[in-house]
């Protein structure tokens, strides 16, 4: 089955684990009577990708966009409950552990977060 994850329009490998976290960014504070109040600043999502193992060629497709390019922000397209959605995201750390070398390098434990701008 073809991956439904794209970065700047480029399809990349379907992850082993895909996690969406949703946040309301607020200034929640307590009034003088201790009631909680707040201004909503924004709604933001965080997308966590994890690959138990991934071939170098597949990993490079991802790294070309989020690591090799000098751009800080990318357009992520993904399917959520049968609805295509997009988000402008930036990335955090991108750890990867070497699993196998040779003609087809394989990496394991690759994970990264794409955080909504």
């Amino acid at each position: 089955m073809q991956s439904q994850h794209k970065l700047d329009g480029n399809i990349f490998k379907r992850p082993s684990t895909f996690l969406i976290e949703r946040y309301k960014v607020t200034n929640l504070q307590r009034l003088a009577n201790a009631d909680m109040v707040g201004d909503l600043l924004a709604k933001k999502r965080k997308f966590s990708y994890k690959y138990d193992s991934i071939q170098a060629s597949e990993l490079n497709k991802i790294l070309d966009i989020i690591w090799e390019s000098n751009s800080l922000f990318y357009t992520l397209t993904y399917i959520e409950s049968n609805v295509e959605k997009t988000a402008i995201v930036y990335t955090g750390a991108i750890p990867s552990e070497l699993y196998r070398t040779g003609s087809n390098w394989v990496w394991k434990g690759v994970s990264f977060d794409l955080i909504e701008k």
């Binding site: 009034l31 003088a32 109040v37 909503l40």
Partner: protein
């Protein structure tokens, strides 16, 4: 179709607010900036009167707006020739600030938060942000040349203010209650000093409203309660702010009663040099002021040398000296006229250190006694000014009467809003200062 906001929208436990900044760059369509593109934060400081100094009214100051913008690729860097706004990020550019709840689904009108004019615009081409400081219309009034105004008799404060702002080409909202009359109205100072002194003399504050208009607000009047705010909707914390030196133990107000003097020498010029067959024009400050009228000019020391075309203001005289002779001459010139002399009457408490006013525009016993009574109550009050940190409401204006009810701070305080410092960085909040309304409303 949008609808007006109400206080309830800004008192909700859960708010989702947005601001927009409209920048009127010269020669192009106004640029609207929101947090969806370049707006990072804004801050406004509004004051009904300058809080420097001890007198709690009258002294003018201009409101200030600070804006931080994202400036990708130097978009808002004044020195960036590649910016579409290059050469337009200059002093005097008009900026309007608005706030409203984010449409969800009701779309609300934008609430204006002032009209400002850029005073500084700073950003590095390589920087990622730009900082803009802007001030309201009064800032430029302060910078304009001193108003030339002929001395007038028996004119109301209202009409004096109206004529002054008309002379500046500005429409202002002058409080209709300012019917008390000045015996003599005249101007001897630069605009800021003059408006400050007139504000104290007229028992008024002069500032800009959110619609950008200058308003002159008479202090001693009953006001309609604008809003009540409580621990449960707005109040974050409150502090007692004793803004004046606690050592004042009374007040002193001096009334200046102006009268026209007898004719006197108002300027004596010795050995004024005029070239041969020449006419010299000059302007000199008078030694005695303010001049009501020039009555005569006397010259000695040179035959056939005459002073012509004499034009005098309350503070200076412009004249021409004509010398038809074939050789240069030096002459002595004496100008005579009548000036305003003031007779002082002081209302004062018994005390060691008195909060004092001695003001040339306080020309009636009524205003002097009212001012003295107000200052006396002000220095005697345990809580003349209340400071509050609140969630904020962009609809509040300086001069609004707000009631603060707080069980936590044991407060039931009704005050007049004299300072509002608001910030927006996605969330909105305000620091307020209110002066006890009973100090003002009890002396009418």
């Amino acid at each position: 179709m949008s609808i007006p906001t109400t206080d309830a929208e800004y008192n909700k436990a859960s708010r989702y607010l947005q601001q927009k900044v409209i920048i009127y760059f010269p020669g192009i369509t106004p640029v609207v900036v929101t947090r969806d593109d370049y707006l990072i934060s804004t801050g406004t400081l509004e004051e009904a009167h300058a809080t420097s100094g001890s007198i709690p009214f009258g002294k003018v100051s201009s409101n200030e707006l600070n804006i931080k913008l994202s400036s990708p690729n130097g978009l808002f860097a004044p020195s960036n020739k590649l910016s579409p706004y290059y050469s337009k990020m200059i002093r005097g550019v008009k900026i309007e600030l608005y706030t409203r709840p984010v449409p969800d689904p009701i779309e609300y009108d934008w609430d204006p938060m002032g009209v400002y004019y850029v005073t500084t615009w700073s950003a590095q081409v390589t920087g990622i942000t730009a900082d803009i400081t802007a001030n309201d219309k009064l800032y430029d009034v302060f910078k304009l040349s001193q108003i030339v105004y002929p001395i007038k008799r028996e004119i109301s404060y209202h009409d004096f203010y109206s004529e002054v702002f008309a002379a500046l080409g500005i429409t202002a909202e002058i409080d209709v209650l300012l019917t008390n009359k000045l015996r003599y109205a005249y101007i001897m100072q630069d605009n800021k000093a003059f408006l400050s002194e007139l504000g104290v003399g007229a028992l008024s504050d002069c500032y800009c409203k959110h619609n950008g208009n200058i308003v002159v607000n008479y202090l001693y009047k009953q006001r309609v309660l604008r809003a009540t705010i409580t621990d449960g909707d707005q109040i974050i914390d409150a502090t007692i702010n004793q803004t004046i030196d606690m050592s004042y133990d009374g007040s002193e107000v001096t009334c200046n009663l102006p009268q026209e003097s007898a004719e006197q020498n108002v300027l004596s010029v010795k050995n004024f040099s005029v070239s041969a067959s020449a006419t010299e024009t000059t302007t000199m400050l008078l030694s005695s002021t303010p001049l009501i009228r020039m009555s005569k000019v006397a010259t000695t020391g040179a035959p056939q040398v005459h002073v012509i075309n004499v034009n005098a203001t309350p503070s200076e005289v412009t004249f021409e000296v004509q010398n038809p002779n074939a050789s240069p001459y030096g002459i002595n010139i004496d100008f005579f006229g009548t000036i305003i002399n003031t007779y002082k009457v002081t209302y004062k408490d018994e005390g060691v250190k008195l909060l004092s006013i001695d003001n040339k525009y306080m020309q009636s016993f009524l205003y002097a006694s009212m001012a003295k009574d107000y200052l006396h109550k002000y220095v005697s009050s345990e809580l003349p000014v209340l400071s509050l940190n609140v969630r904020g409401n962009p609809k509040w204006e300086l001069g609004d009467k707000l009631r603060i009810v707080s069980e936590r701070y044991h407060l039931d305080f009704t005050g007049i809003l004299i300072s509002n410092k608001s910030t927006y960085d996605g969330s909105f909040s305000s620091a307020l200062k209110l002066i006890d309304a009973t100090l003002l409303e009890g002396v009418i």
